[in-house]
Amino acid sequence: MTTLTKGPEAVRLPAPPPAARRRGRWVTITLFLLPAIVLFLMLVVAPMVVAAYSSLFRWNGFGGLPTDFIGLDNFTRLFSSEIFVQDMWHLVVLVALSIFVQLPFSLAVAMLLHQRMRGRAIYRMVFFAPYVLSEVITGVLFSLILSPGSGMANQVLSVFGWESEWLADPDTVLPSLFLVMTWKYFGFHMMIYLAGRQNIPDELVEAAQIDGATAWKTFRYVTLPLLGPTIRISVFLSVIYTIQLFDLVWILTGGGPSHASETMAVTMMDWGFKRSQVGYASAISVVMFVLSLVFALFYQRLVMRRDLEGATTSMGGRR
């Protein structure tokens, strides 16, 4: 937090009188900062506050601010609603799948593409490409591919005498959704890991190899610990993203069949826009916010604390 603007006072050639200068400084600060702050307060901060406020009311979203105060009733109703409890369970399942399947997969591919091999720039570019496509394109494409009748996926599987209902079966809808998420997002995590891997000095890895460590041991005891900060960030992003998951689910399943793939954001949109129970829907958004906030605070406190101290080289044999 150094200040860089005190230089001119020392020299002051055509200097205007100091009072005018100081006023000019404040005019600059105000004029430059004001547009961003106004926009931010109006469209980010105020809506958050209104969401929190209206979660305490029964409100259909019309007629100025809500008036029918009902305290925490929306929240008690929420936590006794089977659909919402299921939403939270889906969150747990998707987060677990992401952390234990998608991220290790991304990490493996990143380690693979860190090797010197022909065409790895092209591989990288292709693997990342789905991240650039919109959720809607991805969702519509896979809703066709995974369609239970004669979708492409089933035609492939039929060669092996297999078949699946994919998104149409409550038992397979979450894994199918996760498959699509992996298709779209693993390239992003792979890129983060690649960037992290490039920051590790190759001497460390070579030293381990010279000492006779196998490829696996080099990875396990040298590369992996040094990638710790990168991995922890990608876990963080993955969880925060999953809490808000909406677009893909809305397009692929709309939350169905029979709420089996519904997420909090889908439930919220359902109550807020289809059934005009804005107060109740706001309670859902408050839970999403609190969940993100609590997770972020705890995670940064407990897990990422040592990363924020910037210690990449002082890691012992942890993890």
């Binding site: 961003a36 010197r116 809607v136 519509v140 494409l141 390239g187």
Partner: protein, 281 residues
């Protein structure tokens, strides 16, 4: 880079790597190729022959979409909204980031913390009040409703990235400019912004892609077909031609072209910005 352990035939040592990479690549590419070829088939062929080349190349699916005004209108809407959002986000952020990076004043840390906390505000949480707010101001079915909201939510990350870059520019340059009679705005406009071009490019690319792919906000703001962006158009198209799979595939492929083309041009900025943004956020 670690050298290949066997010098004799590096090609043989990387063969298993290529095998794995190709399998992963197939996982990524096959759905897209399926859509591309499927767009050239008719529906009966599509269900009987999903993978092979089309027996007869049917171009009607693609040409029908291209001949329809709605595709081009959606393309225009998406482009317009993305460009204006980006200009607005980057302009407001650059001004704010300049102040945060180069002035010491009371309340600076407070405001900056407010913006960084904005990274934590999930967009979905605010969607209902934003809808009510935009309705109050008559901004529903108005591109401005989407643009302003997207710009507001784009501010935190953009300000953080630009502020970091502005701070890395040495103070001597500013002193020299001031001695030569530059006003603060003159310094910002004529010296700082040109120097920060790489950072500006990165945040612009992020803003464009974010706006281009946004679905939730246009979904609630736009009800009239004339305002629709591409994501809304695709979703609607799927509903309308539910049984005409080949035509939907053609629409998807055409809608992918601008995004993938942009990716091909701006790959470096996009990847660099996303990974940097991710780790800073």
């Amino acid at each position: 880079m670690s050298r290949a352990t066997k010098k004799v035939s590096p090609r043989r040592t990387t063969l298993p790597l290529h095998a794995i990479a190709l399998v992963v690549g197939a996982f990524i590419i096959v759905p897209v190729v399926y859509a591309l070829l499927g767009g050239f088939k008719d529906n009966s062929e599509l269900s009987g022959n999903p993978f092979g080349l089309p027996g007869t190349w049917v171009t009607a699916n693609y040409t029908d979409v291209l001949a329809s005004g709605s595709f081009w209108l959606q393309l225009w809407n998406s482009t317009f909204i993305a460009v204006v959002t980006t200009v607005l986000t980057v302009a407001l952020s650059a001004l704010a980031a300049f102040v945060f990076a180069r002035f010491a004043f009371r309340g600076r840390e407070l405001f900056f913390t407010l913006f960084t906390a904005g990274l934590m505000f999930p967009f979905a949480v605010a969607i209902l009040p934003i809808f009510v707010l935009l309705r109050t101001f008559g901004l529903l079915d108005n591109p401005l409703g989407v643009i302003l909201t997207q710009a507001a939510f784009g501010l935190p990350l953009t300000i953080i990235i630009l502020r970091g870059f502005f701070r890395s520019i040495p103070g001597e340059i500013e002193e020299a400019a001031t001695i030569d009679g530059c006003t603060p705005f003159g310094f910002f406009w004529r010296i700082l912004l040109p120097m920060a071009r790489p950072a500006i490019a990165t945040v612009s690319v992020l803003a464009i892609v974010g706006s281009w792919n946004n679905f939730m906000l246009p979904l609630v703001v736009f009800s009239q077909e004339t305002s629709w962006t591409l994501p809304l158009g695709i979703q609607q198209f799927q509903g309308q031609y539910a049984s005409d799979t080949a035509r939907i595939l053609a629409y998807l492929i055409l809608a992918m072209v601008p995004a993938l083309g942009f990716y091909a041009i701006a790959e470096r900025h996009l990847v660099g910005g996303l990974t940097a943004g991710a780790t800073k956020g």
